[in-house]
Each structure stands twice: as C-alpha cells, then as structure tokens.
Symmetry: C3
Subunit: 286 residues, 3 copies
C-alpha cells in the first residue's frame, strides 16, 4: 500500500466526524471535517460561527481524528486546518461558564490530552493557520510539530482580559518562545504578528495567504517521501530527549541510532544512498 502511494495510486477517503453536542443543544452536527488522501490526513476545524471554539465536543472530535487508525502505515502526516477567518478562539467560554467544576475539569483534561496526543503519535502534525489563533487555539497551533501560517495571521493569549489567565496555553507557548515574549503575550493579551511569531519560534514558516495551502502540502509531501517508521523513531526520541540532561539524551540517543540502523527501511535507504538511486520504502516496523 505504501508502495502504491509512492507510485501515485492515491488512497482517498472522506470521513465526517459527527459528535453529539448534548450539553449545548439537542441536535447533532459536524464540528470537524477529516479527509485523507495520499497519506495526508487533514483535520479541519469547522465551526465558523463559534470561531472554531475548542468546546469539549470539538476537542473530542479533534482527538478522535488524530488517533483513528493511527498505526496504519498508509497514514504519513496530519494537517490541522480550520475554516473561516479564525483558526480557533480557544475554549468555549460560555460552555465553561455554564458548567460545573467537574465538567470544566473534563474540558481541560481533554484539551491536554489533545496536545499530548499531537506530540505522541508517530506521524508529524502540521498546523495550517490563516487568521487568528488565540488562547487554547494558539496552544493547539504551538503544540503541533510544525506550523505554517499566512502573513496576516496573528496570535494571542488574551484570557487575562476575561479573568481566565491563559495558564494551559502558556504551557505550549512557553515551550516555543522566549520567556519574555510569552509573558508579554500572557500579561497584556496583546497579539503578535506572524513575523514576530516566526522570529521567536512559535511558527515554522510564514507565507502569503494565497500560497498557504500549497506550502503546507509541499512539506506534507516532503514527509511522504520519507519512511514512516524512521520518522516515528525520530519524533518519539525528539520529545523524549528535550526533557533529559544532555548526557542522558546522548546515552539514550546512541541506542536509538543503532536501533534505527537495524530497520529494513534504513538498510534500503543506505543501500540506495551508496548506489545513488532513490530508496523504495516499505514503511514497515521490521
């Protein structure tokens, strides 16, 4: 199947994830759309009216789409995108206000789950942002492995303005940008521009809005040219080592490199390199 992908025989499916908004309304509707083609899954936040608020249902929808068939070797990369001018305005403040502490707790736990999952799954996750990403919406973007954004996009953690400090968004933001940049965003709530976000490491790339999707697809397709188990090994170790001391990171890293070399795809890769030809990946874990 992986070979098929490389040969251009596309696997395409469209999945609509439907969740019951039991606490907010009595009818059922779609909060995200999810498509998968050619190894690239695209999860699109699709609740434009609510500025793609990360309600509990929205978070569960994203979570389901991130984890579904995650071990399928045909899945190579995930894009998190959004419809409308706002990527996501963060938590649904009305939902938080109208529910008790137990429910609120579920919202934040689910939100943290989503952020953890993004970094724990074996395929890279790219945020495609065209517009405003605030509070937990900014957290979602910051938690993705990569983030490509349009020039006019802006980013903020303005919770302090409504009395709910962006403490959990700050976890992701502070792991991306220098401390004073994070604190300025958190204390003032003022937005930063795409260029500032790029300069400080909050995003990977800034491009004109009209070429945003093309640029995201270029990176996604680039990832599809590489071996899934190799990327999986690398991603897992990356997030493992950043929390270790340098010595422990290298001790663990030597093992990871040796293990990587035993993968059949790696043997193929090195053979191809020496033979000056393109590798043909199997994407299997052996």
């Amino acid at each position: 199947m992986a070979a098929n992908i490389l040969r251009g025989n596309y696997i395409c499916r469209i999945v609509k994830v439907t969740t019951s908004l039991s606490r907010c309304s009595s009818f059922t509707r779609t909060l995200t759309t999810c498509t998968e083609k050619n190894g690239i899954r695209t999860i699109t936040l699709d609740n434009v009216k609510k500025r793609n608020a990360l309600s509990l249902d929205m978070l569960e929808s994203v979570k389901a789409n991130l984890t579904r068939d995650i071990n399928s070797t045909s899945l190579r990369v995930i894009i998190v995108s959004a419809n409308g001018p706002v990527f996501s305005a963060g938590h649904d403040l009305k939902e938080l206000k109208d529910n008790d502490a137990e429910y609120q707790r579920r919202v934040f736990d689910t939100c943290s789950d989503v952020m953890d999952i993004i970094q724990s799954i074996p395929v890279p996750v790219i945020a495609e942002v065209n517009g405003l990403a605030t509070a937990a919406g900014c957290q979602l973007m910051a938690s993705c492995d990569l983030a490509v954004v349009s020039e006019s996009s802006t980013f903020a953690t303005p919770g302090v303005s409504v009395g709910l400090f962006c403490s959990t968004p700050g976890v992701a933001v502070a792991r991306s940008v220098p401390r004073k940049v994070a604190l300025n965003m958190l204390f003032t709530g003022h937005p930063i521009t795409a260029q500032e976000a790029l300069a400080h490491g909050l995003v990977s790339k800034v491009v004109p809005a009209e070429s945003l999707h093309t640029e995201v697809m270029k990176i996604a397709e680039r990832i599809c040219e590489t071996s899934r188990p190799v990327v999986a090994v690398g991603k897992r170790f990356f997030y493992q080592q950043i929390r270790l001391s340098r010595e422990d990171a290298y001790r663990e890293g030597s093992k990871v490199m040796v293990d990587n070399l035993q993968l059949s795809d790696t043997k193929e890769g090195l053979q191809a390199f020496v033979g000056k030809r393109k590798p043909v990946w199997k994407h299997s874990d052996d």
Copy 2:
C-alpha cells in the same frame, strides 16, 4: 480601594527608602526612590555616581521596595527603573574586593533573593531600561517579567574582563536567550544592542528613548485593567510550569484553570464577556 483605582481616584504615596551604608561610609543616604500611584509602584535605582551599583545596601533597598505591602490589593504592577545613563553596572566591585567571603556571600545571596522575589511576587514586574545594563544589572533586567528598553540601550556580562565571571547573571541570561548568545556575551564581555536583545528574547520591547516611559506606562496601565488575583494565579503557574515536564505541567495546569474559574473576578469576567460589557473587578482572592 481597588474599585477606587478603576474609578480614577488615585492612591498616591511617595516612599523614600533610606538604608545605612554602614560599611562604605558613615552617613545615611537614599539609594532608591519608590513611588506608588494608581496601582503602579515605581522603584528607581538612584545612585548615579556609582552607576547604580548593586551593593548590598542597594539590593536590600530594592528587596524592601519589592516586598513592602505586597499583598495589598491596591498594588497591581511594579516598574524597576533607574536614574542616570546606566541602568545598573552590577555588583559594587570595590565592595566585593574590600570585604571577606562571608560578606561576599551575603551580597550574592541577597542578589539571588531579589531575583527570586521578582518572579515570586503576585504582581508583574517591568524593567524600564534607558542605557547600559551590565553584569548583575543585566541579570536584574533579565529577571523581570517584562523589559521595555530604549533603542540605544546595551546589555553586557563583562565580568570576565576583571576576573569575576558573570556566573550568576548568566543564570538569568541563559534562561532568556539562546545558549550561544549567552556564551558569546559571557566569554567576550561584548555588549549586545537593544535590537539584538529583542531578537533573542532578552527584552520584551524596544522603543525610542523619548517614548520609553509612556510605553512602560501603557503596559502597566493595561495590567491595571485586569484582575489582580487572576494575574497572580497566572504568574505563579507560569514560573512553576516551565520547570515541569509537559505532562506534569498540563496535569497541574488543568487544576489551575479550574481553580481560576472559581474566582469571583473570573465569574464576573465571563459574565461581562457574555453580556458584552466591561468587567468590574473586585481584586479579592475569593
């Protein structure tokens, strides 16, 4: 009282902190001035002749001004500023040279105390820098939550030139800028410009000297528009979470968000948000 602030009934006091420079001279003089108005306390280093050296007495004066009435709900933000062309040239080298190890130890412990206090107190601390900040003076600025500086300000850790490596300033600098930037400053002692400091995250904002105070006041006044206990919750968690693993940070963060939501100011904030009106904060911890 807090409501008074919001209504424009200013609370204004001028406090002169006088400490005895027992080891340096026989007379008593002022090392810092401290004013408080409208929730904004301004601590001004005021020993221009000694380039605002962080002598033991200066450090104790700053410490006293940072901690005094710190739990008063009328205090909302602290500005650390300086008179003269040098924000601070760091430790008083003559004082260090002329005293024994026990005294030296007291100087560094008190200095570390000041840096810890800046990040531990429940209100944001903004450095307002117009000129040179070197060694422990650079450390003081780097330790503040935010730093707004004039375009011609420069920053250095030149202790190596006199044989006293800027090890403790390096603790603050290395937590603000990339490693190679910090090491270049520490090994060469060469200053970096305000723009370089901004690019690398050592300062929050660079502005023309003539608008420096106005810009600092804008941020301070912006912070005064928010709720003191909400800011306190956010600041405390920010410095707590940056030393935790991502998982622990989120586990703790969920609790912090739920607790934040139980604050009466937060309930008011969300109510105001939904009602599309300005919130009226009580600034009380309930």
Copy 3:
C-alpha cells in the same frame, strides 16, 4: 609561560594526528591537522574527499586533539575548523552500513563523547564554519560554545532522507534553537541559511567568508586576554546551571561567585580595575 603569551612571545607547535583507518583501508593517513600558537589551538577537519565525514577514526582524532594537554595553562581556546567546502557531512554512512551494531554503537558513543568533551573542557571551543554543516557535522558545530560562520554557510539535519533520522544531532540542535525550527530541519531535511541560524541562536555570528578567519581570531584573542581559571569556572558553571532549577542554580551560583573571588587572578583583576590599569594574569588555579 602565560606571561610570555601576554608579552607576545609565541608558543607555536604543529601536531599532526595520525590514526589508523584499520577498518576502511590498509594505510595510515591524516584526518585532522592540529596547530597551537599563542594559546589558540586549531583543530582542522581535513578529509575533503569524504566531506570531512565523522567516521570513528575522525571522531577519535578530534577527541584526541580536544583533550591533549588540556590542563596546560598555556592553552586558552580551541578552534574547530575544516578544509574544503563542507565543514562536515556528518557520520560516514558507508562505514555505518558496512559494520555491525557493536561498531555502530562505538561510533555514536564516541561522537557523544566528543560533544560532551567540548562542553566539559575548561577552555572555550569556537566552531569556524565556511560551507555546509549537516547531520553530525551540524551537531558538532551546535555543540561548540561559540560558532562563527560565513554568510553562505548552510545547516541541515537531512538523515531522514536516507532513513537514518538525525536523532543525536537533534540533541544538540534542540538545545540551540526553538523547537519548531529544530523539527522543521529534522522532518524535512531542508537546510537553513546562516542568517536563519543566527536569528534562531544556532550560531553566534555571521560574517563574509573573506573575513571569517579574522573574526574567529578576534574572539579567540579576546578570550586570550582573560584569565584561564576564571573562564574555566564560568564555563563549568554555565553548563551545570542550565540543567538546574532557578533556585538551585542561584544557590550553587552564590558559592561559585564567592569561590571565584578567592582566585589570585580575580584579586589581581579587581585590584587592576580599581587602579585603572590592565590586569596581569597568572592563569594559575590558586
């Protein structure tokens, strides 16, 4: 001897490190050259045909040159440079491919040793890069205390392309640049420019190729103007404190500052400072 250096009586030696490439070929050849003059040791990667690949022998040659006579007070700074258009292309993929896991393990362990040694030895290490630094070559540069590079130099971690994810290079890169910058390099393998590397903290300075060596020498000579034991204290503590909590860093830092003040060179430095004259260092640990 140290005084001699200061007076301009140069100590000059040329050392050729010859290692046996037993597993690759039957003859013996030079992989690095090493010169030392005026307190400045220069280790030059010199296997242009193999793009200065970090084979086991190359790594052992670098290691030997980094550690030899490391406690000699006449040694003040080390430059790691390279001949040819490629600083280093990283591990020797053919060597890794043609050897068993035990040998591969030795390669990575030796590589990690080299990176640890760079940061553990008591003198600053400056990378002088003119050209391409990829994979473990990028790791080598990132691991140096400082890195001065020419404008046209580029940096990449492209292992994913051949099926060997740059996991260990990522340890060094992720400790230098923001997470999203590192992940973009690791997942895509795409190079970044010298200016991007500077903006994100991967290098210390970018200069025109024609002035590269002059600029590196300026920094090296600047370091030679300072006291060796003072620099040693500062370098050791820097790498110690970045892994500690702020409180522990300051607790340890106060001790380090007081100890620093007891060095005879520091007493001389402060005496000279007060007397407005140049210090005369002894470079001894007393």
